[in-house]
Symmetry: C2
Subunit: 427 residues, 2 copies
Amino acid sequence: MGTPKGLEIPDAREEKINMSNIKKLKCLICGAEYQPDEVRYTCPKCGDEGILEIIYDYSGIRKNFTKTTLKNNTEYSMWRYLPLLPVDDTEKIGPLKVGWTPLYEAKRIREDLGIPNLWIKDDGRNPTASLKDRPSAIAIVKARELGEKIITCASTGNAASSLSGASASVGLKSYIFVPQTAPVAKIAQLLVFGSTVFAVRGTYDEAFDLSIEATREFGWYNRNTAFNPYMVEGKKTVGLEIIEQMNFEVPDFVFVSVGDGCIISGVVKAYKEMLTLGFINHLPKVIAVQAEGCKPIVDAVNGGGTVKFVKPDTIADSISVGIPRNRLMAVRDVKELNGFGVAVSDEEIIKAIKYLGTIQGIFAEPAGSTAFAGMLKCLQEGTISKKDKIAVLVTGNGLKDVESAKKAGGKALIIDPNLEAVKENLK
Amino acid sequence: MGTPKGLEIPDAREEKINMSNIKKLKCLICGAEYQPDEVRYTCPKCGDEGILEIIYDYSGIRKNFTKTTLKNNTEYSMWRYLPLLPVDDTEKIGPLKVGWTPLYEAKRIREDLGIPNLWIKDDGRNPTASLKDRPSAIAIVKARELGEKIITCASTGNAASSLSGASASVGLKSYIFVPQTAPVAKIAQLLVFGSTVFAVRGTYDEAFDLSIEATREFGWYNRNTAFNPYMVEGKKTVGLEIIEQMNFEVPDFVFVSVGDGCIISGVVKAYKEMLTLGFINHLPKVIAVQAEGCKPIVDAVNGGGTVKFVKPDTIADSISVGIPRNRLMAVRDVKELNGFGVAVSDEEIIKAIKYLGTIQGIFAEPAGSTAFAGMLKCLQEGTISKKDKIAVLVTGNGLKDVESAKKAGGKALIIDPNLEAVKENLK
């Protein structure tokens, strides 16, 4: 208490909580259960497919984590949900302020589209300008708890730049694998943050496999999505915030763009945990949105549930993932909540960037506007109605990919510095 | 009350304050005084040089604006300082969440440089990624209070993109003048936000003059720095936040990068007003930092006080201002607080970008790292000591200018997707 807000030390850390409320880690495939100190990444029995889910002691948590404690909590960052996070040593939390991004009522879009119950979560307002700052903040806590000094990940770009920034802020060395085609802004971030950057001649999927190999070879700590079991926990905080910022009202539909499928599982986990804890009384439908040129999860949730790998072809680099690593969990989660999938064209993604910017002043990168484009499509097709309560997640800022923004934005008028030129162009 | 936090309606607006606490507007040159409804821009007697200062009814304000009311204020944005802002109709405040950006204790820099009392304010965390979102938020309030539908400004880039985003969020049309050389990311923002963009073949200084001409010709509402008297009030909120986030402790030195000189006057006004209101008991020294290739204000404050215009030549586009429009006020303010000026080379600016990123995970654009570079120089030269309490303002995010970031960051290692290539590059 007494710490001025906005400083790097959240109030939560002053209480010096010593151990997380984790009860066990459970394999998604075989159901084997582990204690946190028994396993670092995936299930030893099932290999890389055996993603572990984190299960907390919810009956213990609900004693000291209530609507009242939340209301009185002045820590306006992702760490306000500390009882539901895998943090054993709060001293290991980094200084960057992550989370508690704005949830906008988006009044002008509501009026323009005649949808009075729309909310837009702008998660591009995080430190490195994407939602991925949330899981990366968890990754550096876990690495430091283990005494690791070097951290690595493979990424389409945002997970990388977030991990790179978070690592820099606490002095961890980082080795990053990205596809060579990642947007220049994301690579520039990595380099400014001092990472060693391997720009791989290949896809994200190849970079992912290589980073796992390198992790095994060199013993680095690995933050990869759906390999490191704690990343869903970080992504979950965006869902927890939406729930609290909507005053515990549950939307009918939550739209989430999907690459590996880890963010959507985080959102679903947020709702399920808040239901378990009695903060809400039912679950929303959660909708997976992908680009038409890369929609393995959409096809799986709308079809028989099996994910078929694809060769990605989309402008939305952050979700250009042909082999979705969290596919099993993501498909299960969307189906369990009676959600569905929707695919949008690159053209619709670009149009959504322009629409969000022009009408509401929200600047999204392509994968950031994809969920909104999916919502628009569902409105047009009638799969959702104008009266529905709709939450849409924007996952990254448009400054991350200026080339795509330029496609959305049109052209400046280049003029000589005189009034005649202005008049001429106003005609 | 009861509004969930992070939604677009700050608590403050629920009180429906009807008129600001402005007492008068006073001309910087001739001292003439006006009521807000008597004048829109500069002093009618003195012309464009006659910038008006906003003076509030401080004795009235102090009755209801205290450390206690601030502590209990749950509006974590620039609007928490509403009693000190020129807002007559709180309904006209836009939805984007501006302000209450993080003030970092910057522990790793403190340790690395042996300066235990350093704070860094990261104002690149605003909606369009620069401090300029603060004055632009004020501009759209004033335009809407007047019933204006079209707004304009000239800008090196950040004032433009912030005004453009703010305008989009409330449905104002915007005409923007920028030098053709503005970074592509800033122009991309303008276009996505739907502005009509005049990219002027010339300098910022020429774009400025042209925008004033166009304002007079077409009757648009003008947001230009040091022309519109309310912009300093928006910029002031960054200073108010630093004061509150430092728990009303006054630093010995506050470092601010300077272009037109409007931000530094805002910071000084924040400290002076908080002194008047009894929140603090003395004033800091405020240091103006400019690039060596464009340092009219630095030369003036270190010399006789007269500003000589220059032809700008610096990588720091946001402060590439040869004719500083707020020169009289800025020079007066720095001198009054016993501050001084310091100039840094473009190389030092680029180095500071890399240092801030690598050691602390803060990504600054060139003008954003300039104040930090100036602080480093003062440490080296001994004009400040390692024991001093130092606050440094970072004014914009590095994603705004990726070309400069690339100069700071070095190169990625381009490799084939196999372990041998990784090993080879690790040697």
